[in-house]
Symmetry: C2
C-alpha cells in the first residue's frame, strides 16, 4: 500500500461496515480516525457479533493484517490497546484470546473485596431471590429502559468460605447483592439456571446469553444497615456498611446490569489502586 496514500482508510467491504455516515453515533467520523483505530473498531465489531467468542483464539496478527490490508505493526497497536482495556488477552507463543469472565481462575474480575488477613477471600454464593418485575424508575433510568419495562431482580448472599483451620458449617456473610438485569436481554434466566450454575455470575451471562461485561463504574458510600439487610449479614441493625452501586456495560457503552452490594467491612475492605 505504498502507492496512493492521501486519506488512508480501511476498505469498507470485507466485514460489512456501512459506508453511510448516518449509521450509529459510535462510527461517526471513524473514517478520518487513525488506521489503527479503524482496525480496533473492526476487531471490536467482530467481538460484538460473536465472530470470536469469549475464551476463543482470534486470528494472528499477520492474518488480521493481511485480511485488513494493513501492516502487522498497525494491527499490533490496535490489539495492544484492546489488551490494555482487557477485551483481549495476549499469550506469547500461543496467540491472542477473547477475554472472558467464565474461566479465569483469578476469581471475579470486578470484585475489589479483600480480607484483612489472607488476601483475596474465597466466597460462596447463596441465591435468595430471583424474580421478574416492572423496572422501578431509578433502575429503568440507569439501564436506559422505558419505565415499566421488565427487569430481572436477583438477590444473593456471599459468604466467606472458612479456612482450612476451622470448618464450622457455613461461612460468614460478607456481601449482600441486589442485581437488576434488562428482562429482554436475558429471556430464559431463572432460579433453576442460577442454582445449577457453577462459576462466576458474569460467566453465565456470557455463555448462556452472549452478553459480555466489558467495564463498569461504581459509586461507593457508607450507609447504616436497615433491619432486613442487617439480619441477612448477621449484623446488628444500623451497623455501617459499604454501599457499592455498580453499573456494568457491554459493547457500545450499553449498560446491561445494575447492582447494589452491601459489604460488611468488619474484617474486609475495598481495595483500590491509584496512579
Amino acid at each position: 500500500m505504498p502507492a496512493t496514500r492521501p486519506p488512508k482508510s480501511l476498505p469498507v467491504s470485507a466485514a460489512g461496515l456501512p459506508e453511510s455516515m448516518a449509521g450509529e453515533a459510535a462510527e461517526r467520523g471513524l473514517a478520518f480516525a487513525p488506521l489503527y483505530r479503524q482496525v480496533k473498531a473492526r476487531i471490536v465489531a467482530s467481538l460484538q457479533s460473536c465472530e470470536w467468542r469469549p475464551g476463543e483464539l482470534i486470528p494472528s496478527e499477520m492474518e488480521l493484517a493481511a485480511r485488513l490490508g494493513v501492516s502487522q505493526g498497525t494491527v499490533r497497536k490496535a490489539v495492544d490497546e484492546l489488551a490494555a482495556e482487557n477485551l483481549l488477552v495476549r499469550r506469547q507463543g500461543r496467540g491472542t484470546f477473547v477475554a472472558t469472565h467464565a474461566e479465569q481462575r483469578q476469581q471475579y474480575r470486578f470484585l475489589r473485596l479483600m480480607a484483612d488477613e489472607g488476601g483475596v477471600p474465597l466466597l460462596e454464593r447463596e441465591l435468595l431471590e430471583c424474580r421478574r418485575l416492572r423496572a422501578p424508575g431509578w433502575v429503568a433510568k440507569a439501564l436506559q429502559l422505558r419505565s415499566g419495562d421488565g427487569v430481572i431482580e436477583i438477590r444473593r448472599l456471599l459468604r466467606e468460605v472458612p479456612g482450612a483451620e476451622q470448618e464450622r458449617g457455613a461461612g460468614t456473610p460478607v456481601v449482600l447483592d441486589d442485581i437488576w438485569l434488562p428482562g429482554a436481554l436475558f429471556k430464559g434466566l431463572n432460579t433453576e439456571m442460577l442454582m445449577a450454575h457453577k462459576g462466576p455470575f458474569y460467566g453465565l451471562l456470557e455463555t448462556r446469553f452472549g452478553v459480555q461485561m466489558i467495564r463498569a463504574q461504581e459509586r461507593i458510600r457508607a450507609v447504616a444497615a436497615d433491619e432486613e439487610t442487617a439480619a441477612l449479614l448477621l449484623q446488628p441493625q444500623g451497623v455501617p456498611l459499604l454501599s457499592v452501586e455498580r453499573l456494568s456495560y457491554t459493547y457500545a457503552d450499553k449498560p446491561v446490569e445494575l447492582r447494589r452490594g452491601f459489604y460488611s467491612t468488619a474484617r474486609h475492605f475495598y481495595r483500590n489502586e491509584l496512579n
Copy 2:
C-alpha cells in the same frame, strides 16, 4: 547498532548506573530485560534524581534515542509506558513533560470523591493541626520506619465550596483527613508553610521537598463516626462514614505518606472505574 547484537544492553556509563548486581533489588536482572525496559529504568532514574523536575520538558525522543544509543521506536515504547503510568505527560507538537501534582487544573489527581449533583466538587482546606511526634507502631509499619522515628501528623478538613447560587459563609464539611509523613523527609514542614501554601498538598511536597507521589493504594471501609469526628463533620455521632486509608509511594516503591480520610457520603460518593 546493527553490527554486534547478542546480549543487547545499554552501555552502563552515561548516567552512572552501577554495574554490580549487588546494588538495589530494583535493578536486579535488569541487564537481561528488554531494551525498552532498560530505557524506562534510565528515564525513571533521571526523574528520581530530579535531572528533570515535575512540570519540565524532557528531551525529545530523537535526543534520548541518540543519547542512549537505541532507536526512536524503542524510546517511544518506554515513554509510552511511562505516560500510561502517569509519570510522564505527552503533548503533541510540544514535547514530553514530567507529570506534576502542582499545576494540573484537573484538581487532585488521587481524589475520587464526587458530588451527587455537579460532578467534581470544589473543595477548600482548613488546617486543624500539624505537629511532630514519635511514630505510633502502625504508622511506622506502614511507612517502613523504625518504631519511634519522628513523623509529622497533619489534620485537615475539606469543605465543599458553596455554588454560585448560595453563599452562606463556609462550605459543608465533607472530608476529615489525618496525614502522617516521615519527619526525616520533610524537615522544614510546619503549620506556617501549610497555611501559606495554595494549591494541591502534593504539589507542596513536590516543589518544596522534591518528593513526588507516583501511585497509591487505598483501603476503603464503612465505619461509625466517633464523637470527635462527627463534631468536626457536623454530623451526629455514629453516622456511617467512608474510611479511606491511603498509602502513597514515590519512586522505587518507597512509601512516603500514610493518610486516613473520613468521607461524609450523604451527598457525595467515591467513584471507581472497573475494566
